[in-house]
Amino acid sequence: MRLLIVEDDAPLASGLSRILEAEGHAVDVTERGEDAVLAASQEHFDLVILDIGLPRMDGFEVLRRLRAAEKPIPVLVLTARDATEDKVRGLDLGADDYMVKPFAMPELTARVRALLRRSQAHGGPRIVHGPLALDTVARRAYLRNEPLELAAREWAVLEVLLAKVEKIVSKEAIIQAVAGWGEDLSPNAIEVYVSRLRSKLEPAGIKIRTVRGFGYMLEEFKIAAH
């Protein structure tokens, strides 16, 4: 994937680009907002990582211009400020995600992966999570390239969790996404579907964590050897 980092702090920019390159991405770095707008208009990027506190044209303005362009590029906003106003403003202007400095690098790479996956899934029929692959058009699931049998409700729950890897999805949110109109689904029923999914996915190293009193979280797939 091709990424553009817009960050005027040279050490941070170089650190980020090294880390993302290590993840297998092609990374371009610019420290000026104007250059970022220009680059994005002329070349294709899959994701922009944008610092808000830029000299001259600030991140909000860059974000506004990127959003005004024809094809929307996912934007991950970085900021040294955490005032709620900034956050709301950033998200209002169409930022896809928001991170407050300083952050742990694994968290950044996870968010980058999630954003890229979401933009690929958007319109793309295939969702991949480690050894798991979902063909959303044919509604077929594969685990380690073997067909995986999933009941309709299990499929629906898995889809919700896959859309938010590494994020807690509350039971209420799952019920809302899974239950049809006028249908009454109890939290207990969700537990049943999740436990069935677990028994099918855990042997392949895919973990669904229970967050007590809240909901579930599909963990980032990690290669077991690590």
Binding site: A80, F103, A104, E107, F214
Partner: protein, 446 residues
Amino acid sequence: MPARSLRAHLLRMLLPPIAALLALGAVVAYYPSSEPTTEAYDTALVDIGIALGAHIQSASNEYRFELPAAVEQLLRTDRHDLIFFRVLSPIGVHIAGDLALPVPNSERQAYDGVVDGHKVRVVTVEAPCGGASCTVLVAETTNKRARAAREFLLTSMLPGLLIALATLLIVWFGVKRGLWPLTRLSEELKARSPRDLRPIDAAAVPEETRALVSALNGLLDELAHAARNQQRFLANAAHQLRTPLAGLQAHTELALAEPIPESCRVHLEQVHQATIRTARLANQLLALARAEPGARGESSDVNLRSVVEGEADSWVHQALARDVDLGFELEPAPVKGDAMLLREALANLVHNAIEYSSSGGHVTVRTGQRGGESFAEVEDDGPGIAPQERERVLERFYRVPGTPGTGSGLGLAIVREIAGRHGARMELGEGAGARGCRVALTFPHG
């Protein structure tokens, strides 16, 4: 000269003019009205003179004056004054009466004179005697008149004195009453929290104190401004620290991913941990700056449940990293306050609970309502805080001796600061089954 007491100052200013006015009033009232009194007394003397005149007998230039002893006695009998009289012939020859009474030397019919050393009032009456007119002089000492004058003076001055007294009383109590709004204002200021740097409502004070209030408001505004500047400085400093820290963190993580000698790795790990701690400290200082008195806070309707739900993701990851089971028991808990600060307070409590739990420990975050009051609490089954330490752990930078880990000792101080700002109670206790630690924040109703 500074007037120590407004009241004394006012009285000092009012007394001399009031006294002068009183004196002037007495004089002005006395003289015009003393004339009719004198005239009345004079008329009485004239009457006596006429009566005496009737006793003059004349026969061919011979004049005789016969007064029966009883009549004379009656005439001379007066409780207060001595009466003198003298009868003179038309050519001024003494006929009868008191020789001590001098012959008049002017044409005036009433005048002041002296008889035997007594001050007297003398009237002259012309009495017909044999075709001509004899002169009867009647004199009277002035005791009655002086007394009447004194009485008159007193009665005419009394209302004036009463008015003066009333004025002084009005000043005495009026000053107190007039200054009442100031007293109330000072009570109000005394009752103010030191965090409250809002201007005083100028509409609630009397016109005359507006200048004072606006000066006070100016001072308050400057104070608030200075406090805001300090907050801004602290916030900017913390913000400025974040970008280089992010860079530092990125590079230490990169370096740690490289194949490096084990001896180097140990040091690099230390650097990395220190970076993370410093980043956290910067965040905490920022939170403290925001929670401190004078900081401009936003107050809105906040549901503690939503605050927890919004942060659950990042907390769960912290918990997973330390192999701690983080659970939630969330019910609606509406409060009024600053969402950012409340989030910071809860984040600190959760961070502490996770930090001091051992691997496999349990941390539970609860929100809800108890007895109509909203609360949020965090409970763990870690080592807990000994009762004798519970007060001290709230101090800034204090850490219980022998505590493992690398906390700054700011976390609970921040929570206390934020709780205080929201008027919330902060209670430290034991967790379920007398194990671990439970910190509860209870927010007052409304």
